[in-house]
Amino acid sequence: MKIDVGYVAELARLELTDEEKAVFQPQLENIVRYVEKISEVDVEGVEPMMHGRQLVNAFREDVVRPSLPAETALANAPARVGDEFLLPKIVEGAES
């Protein structure tokens, strides 16, 4: 069992140092080896359990209600301009 920790961390948008990769690699392989014991279980015809209690169609009344005011929602923003979150440029060539 070999996990490409660098690749998976990239998928998770997590930058890892080489030291972290070296520590996590054997730990994760050990955990994965452990959890693979579920492959022994015969699950033919068994339905998956998604939640602690299966509920369907949990509807609520479709009424308009006030949401968080913009000022409140922006209060924890690391950077903002006016009523918007400020981010580095995403689209190449766009005005930033």
Partner: protein, 466 residues
Amino acid sequence: MELYELGIKATRDGLEKGEFTSADLVKSLAARFREKNAEIGAYLTFDEEQALALAAENPKAVPIAVKDLINVRGQPCTCGSKILQGYVSPYDATVIRNMKSKGFIPCGRVNMDEFAMGSSTENSALGVTRNPYDTSRVPGGSSGGSAAAVGGNMCIAALGTDTGGSIRQPASFCNCVGVKPSYGRVSRYGVTAFASSLDQVGPMTKSVEDAAILLGAIAGHDEMDGTTPRDPVPDYEAAIAGATLKGVKLGLPKEYFGVEGMDPEVRRITEEAVAKCEAAGAELVEVSLPHTGYAMAVYYIIAPAEASANLARFDGVRYGHRSAASRDVYSLYTKSRAEGFGPEVKRRIIMGTYVLSSGYYDSYYGRAQKVRTLIKRDFDEAFAKCDAIVAPCAPTPAFRFGENQDPLTMYLNDLYTIPSSLAGVCASSVPAGFTSEGHLPVGVQFVCGGFEEAKLLRVSKAFEEL
């Protein structure tokens, strides 16, 4: 007797009789905080001024310590993580709104393993919490701050959360009562998500009666959480009146008592607890939970998978830490998360991302969900033969700091609590005794079927009185 030593019932009675006010309680707790927190570290913050303002609005309210992942408007909510340092909640979680309407106020933020991932509170990035019964040992986790605050008489009662044992194991380590409600009994709205199909908020208290009162105050349907059914909330306080073990069928899962790794003192205390129940009139029944041996594996697929998705929201965009070193949006994500998360959180995010990644989904997450169905069926079949299951809570008493270095060894702490979490049923931890050497507390676990909290509390209460 100091006010901070009281539990919910005694506090509420005193408030009713006008013997003291909510403000008096807050002041007593604040003094206790100043005296004790440097040693125990149960609290991350205790804002006396804010608590007094809430007490002034509601002079008959009982103050409750809140695990630092439950949002209280105007208070910090760090989840024990550097990534949320400085964050201030914009709204109240439903459990907070509910308890405020039932005569409680939030009072202080208690420590926890970062994002509830851990069994010792050693994973908190923001402070060390020590076991009040032996400060060289951990308080358990992830609700270690809640347990230390209750066990160390630093609060009247506390709220914790339990995903795979995070209320029950620390309750056992710190000599308090802890109740993990059935999945869906308590709203998760405003509670920072770890593993959404497992997380539940529950009471951690000085007595079963207090747990019944606090659970009754927070439970119920919430239209902001689609997994909370409309089933009415029974009067738990009334339900425990005259509780007895006479004629109660107690199930002993043979798989739990056969395993290696159970500390001999835990085994002795659990067996004595079972014998006491029998002497009090309970009928012992052997039950079998044949898929127990797979529960840990199922949990360590499902919980990290759900965590990896839930923690994607911490990206440095709208709140939380943003890396000063980021150059573009990609590095803003990767560097903010690298700087903000601690090692256990990173490990679980990677584990979760791995089991959900292309080509592996069916063999890990998909398969784990099917085995989870089989674990649930084990419990259904066991509860056809008994009223409640009795089991150890944790395989050992509180261990020393740094004792469990290997992640997989640490995970084994939840051996007895994870199966019932996966099944979505309710369970409690009730103090059962102390180890002969070291005098460390050990709790016993009771488990009942889904939405059978009234029965669970009755059994727990009857045991507590033995």
